[in-house]
C-alpha cells in the first residue's frame, strides 16, 4: 500500500552550528535509489522527522543543482527541533517531500535579482542564491541584503563572503542598531532603511523577501518606492503544517492551501489572500 505519510530515511552527513540556537544539517538518503529518483525545485519544502517527537516543516535550503544531498536549517524552539539539535553525523532522520511550488526561477531569467532576508529567513533564500549563481549567465545583477538583530544572529556568514566574490553580485549585510560588535564593518540599521540607502537598481528587478512579518511589512513600501511592482515581489509563507499535502486542514489562507499552492507567492497574489498568515 502506498503510504503518503511515510518518510524516507536519511543519514546525517554534516551538522553546522550557526548561532546559539540555529543549526543546518546536511542529509542524504540511506537508499541510493532514492537519491537517484529525487529532484526538487528551490523554494520547495519538506517534512523532517525526529522520530519520537514528530515532524516539522522546513525549506530545503540547499540548491536543487546539488545532487547527492539536501540541507535544512532550523532554530531550536520546540519539541522536534530540540531533538534535531542533538543530531550527529551518522544519525538517521526522516524526510517527506519535496512539497509546494518553489520559486519561479525560469520566469525570473533575464532579470536582476534582489534577495532580502531577515534573521533565520536566510536559508529559504540561500537555495535560490546558489541556484542563480550556478546559472549565472541566466540572471542579471544580483543583490543580497541580509540582516539580523545582532552579529551573533547571522547565519551562513561564510557563504555571504563567498557570494560577494562572484561576478555582478553585491552583498549588503546589516544588523539592528546595538547589534554590532566593534569589528563590524557592514551596515547598521533596519533592513528597510538599509535598502533605501543602498541605491539598488530596480528597473528590471525581481525582489524575493523572506523574514519576520514586521520586517516584510516595512520593506514592501520601500520596494514600492523603488518602483518594483507587486507582480515582481515574491515571498514564502510559513503557515503551520502537519501533512504538507492538502489534507490536515490548517495551512490555508482562505481557499489557498499554502502547502500545495504555495508556499511561494507574489505580492500580487498575497494581497488577494485573506489575512490568515
Amino acid at each position: 500500500m502506498d503510504n503518503v505519510y511515510k518518510p524516507e530515511l536519511m543519514e546525517v552527513i554534516n551538522v553546522l552550528q550557526h548561532t546559539a540556537d540555529v543549526k543546518s544539517v546536511r542529509i542524504r538518503f540511506w537508499d541510493p535509489a532514492a537519491t537517484e529518483k529525487f529532484s526538487f525545485r528551490v523554494g520547495q519544502f519538506g517534512m523532517f522527522s525526529a522520530f519520537g517527537s514528530g515532524e516539522s516543516t522546513f525549506n530545503i535550503c540547499s540548491s536543487s543543482t546539488w545532487k547527492d544531498y539536501i540541507e535544512f536549517c532550523f532554530r531550536k524552539t520546540g519539541k522536534v527541533t530540540e531533538i534535531l539539535w542533538q543530531l550527529d553525523e551518522g544519525d538517521t532522520i526522516g524526510f517527506r517531500g519535496p512539497y509546494g511550488n518553489g520559486y519561479p526561477m525560469e520566469a525570473w531569467e533575464g532579470r536582476d535579482l534582489i534577495f532580502i532576508a531577515g534573521g533565520i529567513a536566510m536559508p529559504p533564500i540561500r537555495c535560490a542564491i546558489w541556484y542563480a549563481l550556478e546559472n549565472r549567465d541566466k540572471y542579471g545583477n544580483i543583490t543580497i541584503v541580509y540582516g539580523a538583530r545582532t552579529v551573533g544572529d547571522l547565519v551562513f556568514t561564510g557563504e555571504l563572503e563567498q557570494w560577494a566574490t562572484h561576478d555582478r553580485v553585491r552583498v549588503v549585510q546589516c544588523v539592528d542598531p546595538g547589534g554590532e560588535t566593534p569589528e563590524w564593518e557592514h551596515e547598521i540599521g533596519l533592513i528597510p532603511h538599509v535598502i533605501e540607502r543602498a541605491n539598488i537598481p530596480a528597473e528590471n528587478a525581481i525582489a524575493l523577501v523572506v523574514g519576520p512579518p514586521i520586517m516584510i511589512r516595512f520593506t514592501l513600501p520601500v520596494l514600492d518606492k523603488m518602483g518594483i511592482g507587486p507582480q515582481d515581489i515574491y515571498s514564502s509563507l510559513e503557515n503551520r503544517m502537519k501533512c504538507g499535502i492538502g489534507k490536515c486542514g490548517r495551512c490555508n489562507c482562505g481557499p489557498v492551501y499554502v502547502c500545495k499552492e504555495g508556499p511561494v507567492f507574489s505580492l500580487e497574489q498575497i494581497r488577494n489572500l485573506p489575512n490568515d498568515y
Binding site: 500500500m1 503510504n3 511515510k6 516539522s56 532554530r75 510559513e238 492538502g246 489534507k247 489562507c253 485573506p274
Partner: protein, 340 residues
C-alpha cells in the same frame, strides 16, 4: 413493484455478516437519548429507528479518530520503519442516515486530491454502506438546505425505506449493495414512503458569497463570543476531517499516528515562533464557516455540510451551523441595508 426485506431477514443478514468475522456497524442505544454508531457483536444491538439520528457520524469507520500510519523502532543509532496496514476486514454499516452517507463523496475529494490517503481509501473500498431513509426529523435538521433530502442516495450502496412493521423497501444503488441483498429480498406491491423533510431554511449560495467577501466583519465576533471552543461540532460532524500527526512511543520506539484535530483549537495553527494566524475564536469560527460554505465549494464544487444537525444538538451553547448561518444572514441583510 419493489424489493423488500423483512426486519427479521435484515437482522439475520447482519448476524450472518458477523458470523463471517466481518465487522458490522450500526446505531446502538448506549444511554437515554444517546445513540452512537459502533461495532456490533450481534444484530440485537441495532437500533434502526425511533429517534432522529446518532450523536456521532460514520466518518470514524473510514477516518478513525486515532490511526497508526507506521511504526518506528530505535536500533542503536539506526531507525527502522515498519508499515502498518489498515485492517483488511470488510465492514458493513447499516442504518446510516442519508446525511452520514452523503459525507463520503465529500471526504473522497479531500483524501484523494493529488496525494492519495490509502488508509482512507482501503477502508472505503472495504465498506458497504446501507442507509435508512429518514422517516422523521427535528428542528435541527437542515439537509434540504444543503441540497440533500431524507432519502438522498449520495454515498450509499443501498437505501432502505421503512414499510412499517413489514420491514423495508430495498433500493440497491451500487454493485456492493446488490451483492449484499442478492437473493435476500422479495418482490412486493409495497413501497417505502419518502417524506418531504425539513423546510428549506437557507440558500447556501448567498452564504458562500457572504463568507468569502466578509473576512473582516463584526459578525464573526458575534458568533465567536458564544463559542466555548470545545470542538464538539467538528468531532461529531460527518464532513469535518482535519487531523494532527504526532508520535506516540517510548525509548525503544513507537508509532506515528493521525489523530482527529479541530480548527476550533488555538494550537491548530500556532507557529513555533508563537505567532498564530487564528489567534482567537473569532478567527476559528470564521475558518469553520468559511471552509464549509466558501473554501470547499470553491475547490470541489460541493458544500462541506450535509445538514445533519449534529453540531446543533451536541453544542453546549446552542451554536451550530444552522444558527450561525442565521446570524450570517442577518448580518448580510444589515450589510445590504447599509449599502442603500
Amino acid at each position: 413493484m419493489s424489493d423488500v426485506i423483512s426486519r427479521q431477514q435484515l437482522l439475520e443478514l447482519v448476524d450472518a455478516w458477523i458470523a463471517q468475522d466481518k465487522r458490522a456497524i450500526g446505531p446502538v442505544a448506549v444511554g437515554e437519548d444517546l445513540h452512537l454508531f459502533m461495532s456490533m457483536s450481534d444484530s440485537g444491538q441495532l437500533a434502526m429507528e425511533g429517534y432522529i439520528r446518532p450523536q456521532n457520524s460514520i466518518k470514524e469507520f473510514f477516518f478513525p479518530r486515532h490511526e497508526k500510519i507506521y511504526r518506528y523502532h530505535f536500533k542503536g543509532h539506526n531507525i527502522e520503519l515498519e508499515d502498518v496496514e489498515p485492517p483488511a476486514t470488510e465492514q458493513l454499516i447499516i442504518g446510516a442516515r442519508p446525511c452520514d452517507a452523503a459525507a463520503l463523496p465529500i471526504l473522497d475529494h479531500v483524501f484523494n486530491w493529488d496525494f492519495k490517503d490509502e488508509f482512507y481509501n482501503q477502508r472505503r473500498n472495504a465498506t458497504t454502506v446501507i442507509t435508512l431513509a429518514c422517516a422523521t426529523f427535528d428542528d435541527n435538521c437542515f439537509c434540504t438546505s444543503v441540497g440533500l433530502s431524507p432519502a438522498a442516495e449520495q454515498g450509499s450502496d443501498a437505501l432502505l425505506l421503512s414499510i412499517g412493521d413489514d420491514g423495508y423497501e430495498v433500493r440497491c444503488l451500487t454493485d456492493k449493495g446488490k451483492a449484499l441483498f442478492e437473493d435476500k429480498t422479495q418482490s412486493s406491491e409495497k413501497t417505502g414512503e419518502v417524506i418531504d423533510g425539513p423546510e428549506k431554511k437557507f440558500d447556501p449560495e448567498p452564504i458562500g458569497d457572504f463568507v468569502r467577501n466578509n473576512f473582516e466583519n463584526p459578525v464573526w465576533q458575534e458568533i465567536a463570543l458564544r463559542c466555548l471552543g470545545c470542538g464538539v461540532c467538528t468531532y461529531s460532524c460527518p464532513t469535518c476531517h482535519c487531523f494532527d500527526i504526532v508520535d506516540e512511543g517510548t525509548a525503544s520506539g513507537g508509532a506515528r499516528v493521525k489523530n482527529w484535530d479541530s480548527c476550533q483549537f488555538a494550537m491548530f495553527t500556532q507557529h513555533a515562533s508563537g505567532h498564530n494566524p487564528r489567534a482567537n475564536q473569532i478567527h476559528r469560527q470564521r475558518q469553520r464557516l468559511l471552509h464549509k460554505f466558501g473554501i470547499y465549494p470553491e475547490k470541489f464544487g460541493a458544500i462541506l455540510c450535509t445538514g445533519c444537525g449534529n453540531c446543533m444538538r451536541n453544542c453546549p451553547v446552542e451554536l451550530g451551523v444552522l444558527n450561525s448561518v442565521e446570524i450570517l444572514r442577518e448580518a448580510a441583510t444589515r450589510n445590504t441595508g447599509e449599502g442603500k
